[in-house]
């Protein structure tokens, strides 16, 4: 009998196991509660798989881009604005995974571990979210894209606020087209190309090659390159867009001379190029708040010389994310200090409590010397002054680099990356217009329209 009751103590082991189970349960509720409650099947927030009750999303001028009214999700009255801001705001069924309405759905629903969705039920609204985007600028940008696929992003390189972020193709969230699946016109429509897209950079990658050259070749400014229309290596030729003759480093950059930069890339070598790319954030996973940014990739280990040459001018397997490129531009414009872009400013609870989401913050992934950045800024300014001409950007003091990325099929993608050096308008810009030919005539024109709208 003594033994019998002593043996009851094994039940303590069972109690312990039970408590561990409870601990796991509490922990999983604590860590996953937000994700769980924002599931589409949660009828407190969604009805028929669509957000019914949630907070509003405002642009930087306080214009509501999305809001709930009587259990129905509503959007801005202008169709163009709805389309232009679709990828930032997101749809009500979370097809656009990086949209605010998907990523921040638990905040919009007002969920927190302590109160659950009680506030949503009580106030009939969740937390509101303020964006840094300007819906009017986005509208201009969307119109400037003129039906082309691609993306444009503009951000203040001093503060990190993204004022314009448009991805095309897009659609109207309150009138979703039915024939989108398999339709070439809507290819990748749910993807925010600015954050989740990766493109062959074309000549815009020469910025990175140039940075590497400035870092590693002391007498780079005194060097001259001879362009015969192609650059010959043992394993093949790198073709240039023109025959530039003998050019200086600056002029080679102005003219975007493939021969010169292929030669530079091979001279610099695989290791140094990859080091510079790594310092500029290639290959590193980054997040904008809670939104994942697709990483850029640059890998030239185990390449033949000719491929290294091609990689140095932005072809080969190199892929660049537009947001990543924009941050590099910001770093060059800002004297080597890369400010992280963000577009979710703050979250305001129904009771008025403000949670700051986006702040001016230096990117930990990009390191750039001030001297190199300053020289790059001069070089990019020289591009506009000496080659593209200021008349392409009337009234602006733009710096930039165009790109024409050759792709396997179809017209090349047109790139423009750059920034304004006017201290009144410290904006950096990236634009990719798919299948739109040369950089300046495609993306350059879009950038001009958007920058004119921002800087007026």
């Amino acid at each position: 009998m003594n033994n019998t009751t002593k043996r009851a103590y094994v039940l303590y082991a069972f109690i312990l196991a039970f408590m561990v189970g409870l601990g796991i349960m509490v922990w999983s509720f604590y860590t996953n509660g937000g994700e769980w409650t924002s599931n589409l099947v949660n009828k407190h927030i969604y009805s028929n798989g669509q957000i019914a009750n949630a907070g509003a999303v405002y642009d930087c001028n306080g214009i509501a881009l999305a809001f709930s009214e009587d259990g129905v999700r509503k959007y801005h009255k202008s169709e163009t604005v709805r389309k232009a801001t679709l990828h930032a705001v997101g749809d009500q069924s979370s097809f656009i995974a990086t949209g605010v309405q998907s990523i921040y759905s638990s905040r919009l629903s007002g969920y927190d571990f302590v109160n659950g969705v009680y506030n949503l039920k009580k106030y009939n609204r969740g937390n509101d979210i303020n964006l840094t985007l300007d819906s009017e600028i986005c509208k201009v940008a969307y119109n400037a894209m003129n039906g082309r696929k691609g993306t444009i992003g503009v951000y203040n390189y001093k503060t990190g606020e993204i004022v314009c972020m448009v991805s095309a193709p897009t659609y109207d969230p309150i009138n979703k087209p039915k024939n989108m699946d398999g339709n070439e016109k809507y290819e990748g429509v749910y993807l925010n190309r600015f954050l989740s897209g990766v493109y062959t950079p074309g000549s815009t990658f020469k910025v990175i090659t140039a940075i590497c050259a400035l870092q590693n070749i002391p007498d780079i400014e005194d060097r001259t390159f001879t362009c015969t229309g192609k650059y010959h290596t043992d394993s093949g030729d790198v073709i240039c867009n023109s025959t530039h003759g003998t050019v200086s480093f600056e002029r080679a950059f102005n003219r975007s001379c493939n021969s010169a930069f292929a030669q530079l890339a091979i001279e610099l070598g695989r290791e140094k190029l990859m080091t510079t790319a790594g310092q500029l954030g290639f290959g590193a996973k980054d997040y904008m708040g809670e939104i994942p940014i697709t990483k850029s990739s640059f890998d030239v280990s185990n390449t033949k010389d000719v491929d290294l040459g091609w990689a140095g001018i932005g072809q080969y397997t190199t892929l660049v994310n537009p947001c990543q490129m924009l941050t590099i531009m910001g770093a060059i414009a800002n004297g080597g200090v890369a400010v992280k872009p963000y577009f979710v400013k703050d979250i305001i609870s129904p009771s008025g409590e403000i949670t700051v989401e986006g702040e001016t913050e230096q990117s930990g992934l990009i390191t750039l010397d001030k001297a190199v950045a300053d020289r790059m800024r001069e070089l990019m300014r020289s591009n506009v002054v000496n080659y593209y001409s200021d008349s392409s950007f009337p009234g602006l003091k733009m710096c930039g680099k165009t790109g024409t990325a050759q792709i396997d099929d179809g017209e090349p993608h047109s790139w423009f990356v750059g920034f304004s050096i006017d201290p009144e308008t410290p904006y950096a810009v990236v634009c990719v217009a798919e299948n739109s030919g040369s950089g300046l005539s495609g993306a350059g024109k879009i950038v001009n329209k958007v920058m004119q709208a921002i800087c007026k």
Binding site: M1, A8, L11, M19, G21, T37, V41, V114, Y118, K121
Partner: protein
């Protein structure tokens, strides 16, 4: 003396008023949803009245002065009733009737368990009835949610496996000393195998697991043999692997486990909804009747933990769950001072079963364990489950020495909680061999010491003549030292018992003989 210390007066009347106030408040929310629902009002009024009637009679006529377990039972049954009522009016009436039935079973079992001699007589009939019930179940069963564990009699569906849980503990604990013989071990094993096997055939794996776990508790507490238990576990695990290997359909039942979000509108529907809505409820809940989980299948039965989290809040839900831990701790504690090993084992097995079932339920619906579809004791809707829960509570309460105060008080004046003089098993009629063999005291360290044994001895001769007349005063040691013929007169014995009792709170032997033999093998005796 220690009477006052042990039975600190707790104002149970006040406790009942608090419980009633809680139930009145929560039920009002349900009753006055929209317009006043008179039907529900009547149901709740009747339920609260029944609580008070029980309390009044038990405290005034049955000498009960402790109501811990009943309070928990009333409180939880009331919460379950309120949840049922918030979903569907008709659930409430049925549930209230179930609670009353459960209360009757509780009282009936307490009456039966008072008499261990009756328990011993009922052992075999109950075992046969239990196996028979499961056999009938298998014959008449109809498919219900993938399991065959329901039978419908005259419009009432009952789940025999719930009732068999009570029989399982009853039989298991009652054949205590018999385990020592191979024959009774075999019998008990056959009984267990019959129960678990029948449940497997019904595909009620959750209940089968509960039975297996309970068997483990009973078997371990009886034998203390870790190797045997390990062997049984290995055998069971092998059996489970064999079943999964040869019957892939069984494994398919558990394929959702840890993959619920991939089948969010399929097999994982219940678990995902529980997680989503439980999290939506937060710590304080959205309010009774304001949840959305109630629209999901089996919300008031298997998924009721989710409803509690969503509507009553996670704090309430976790307090309820922690209470089952408390019940088990309580059972372990009362087992230390109870009258015999039967009560100790029954209490620990019942409380262990209850907590295990709780674990299967709450961890099943939250995908921490595979979903097995067992109920949450007291809270889940369902008559069979409710009756079983109250029955389990009776086993725990019976072990509490304060439950049978009249028995206790008259037997040993110097120990307020001293056991009654119930003798179980056939006793030899031959005077010369007549021995009062009493199992050793629970939690009595004195009795183990050789030095104190001499004072706690009782000769056969004296017992023979004085047992009838003085047994009530004289505790007798399990270590029947009759053969040693140590002479110790009963007055001396009592005196010494008093002195040691004062010092150590417990006296000498206070257990009841269950076997007719004394301690015929070395294992029972130390």
């Amino acid at each position: 003396m220690s009477n006052e210390n042990l039975n600190k007066r707790f104002n149970w009347g006040l406790m009942m008023i608090i419980v009633t106030a809680f139930q009145a408040l929560t039920s009002t929310v349900v009753i006055v949803k929209g317009e006043v629902n008179l039907k529900l009002l009547a149901v709740f009024a009747a339920y609260i009245a029944a609580e008070w009637i029980y309390f009044f009679i038990a405290s005034n006529f049955c000498g009960q002065n402790n109501f811990e377990l009943e309070t928990i039972g009333f409180l939880f049954s009331g919460i379950g009733l309120t949840v049922c009522a918030s979903v569907y009016d008709d659930y409430a009436l049925k549930q209230a009737v179930s609670i009353l039935l459960g209360l009757f079973v509780f009282i009936f079992l307490l009456l039966v368990l008072r008499r261990t001699d009756i328990v011993m007589k009922l052992r075999m009939p109950v075992a046969f009835a239990a196996v028979g019930l499961l056999a009938v179940n298998l014959l008449l069963a109809e498919y219900n949610n993938g399991a065959l564990n329901w039978i419908t009699i005259a419009g009432f569906s009952i789940q025999p496996s719930e009732l068999v849980k009570l029989a399982f503990i009853f039989v298991g604990a009652a054949s205590l000393d018999k385990l020592q013989s191979t024959k009774s071990l075999t019998k008990y094993l056959i009984f267990c195998l019959g129960c678990v096997g029948a449940l497997f055939l019904m595909r009620d794996f959750g209940t089968a697991l509960i039975f297996f776990f309970t068997f483990m508790i009973i078997a371990f507490m009886r034998s203390g043999d870790v190797r045997t238990i390990a062997l049984v576990c290995v055998a069971a695990a092998l059996g489970a692997i064999m079943i999964i290997y040869f019957r892939p359909t069984v494994a398919a039942r558990f394929s959702t486990y840890r993959h619920i979000w991939e089948q969010i509108n399929g097999a994982g529907m219940q678990q995902t909804r529980v997680l989503i809505y439980s999290a939506s409820g937060g710590l304080f809940g959205l309010g009774i009747g304001n949840g959305k989980l109630k629209g999901v299948y089996a919300s008031t039965t298997d998924l009721i933990f989710g409803m509690l989290c969503e509507e009553w809040g996670m704090i309430v839900a976790f307090l309820i769950v922690l209470t089952y831990v408390f019940i088990l701790l309580y059972a372990i504690k009362v087992a230390r001072t109870t009258r015999s090993a039967f009560y100790a084992i029954a209490a620990c097995a019942a409380a262990g079963l209850m907590l295990f079932q709780t674990a299967l339920n709450i961890f099943g619906v939250t995908d921490i364990l595979p979903l097995t579809g067992v109920t949450l004791p007291f809270i889940s809707r369902g008559g069979s489950s409710m009756i079983c829960s109250w029955g389990l509570l009776a086993f725990i309460k019976a072990a509490d020495i304060r439950t049978y105060p009249k028995l206790s008080k008259t037997i040993l004046p110097d120990h307020p909680l001293y056991p009654p003089d119930i003798k179980i098993g056939k006793r030899s009629t031959r005077p010369t061999r007549r021995q009062v063999s009493v199992p050793r005291v629970v939690g009595d360290p004195i009795n183990q010491k050789p030095s104190s044994q001499s004072t706690a001895r009782k000769t056969t001769a004296q017992t023979k003549t004085t047992a009838r007349s003085t047994a009530k005063d004289i505790p007798v040691s399990r270590q029947t030292t009759a053969r040693k013929k140590t002479a110790a007169s009963s007055p001396q014995r009592t005196t010494s018992a008093r002195s040691t009792g004062t010092a150590k709170r417990t006296t000498a032997a206070k257990d009841i003989p269950i076997s007719r033999k004394a301690s015929s093998n070395g294992r029972a005796k130390r």
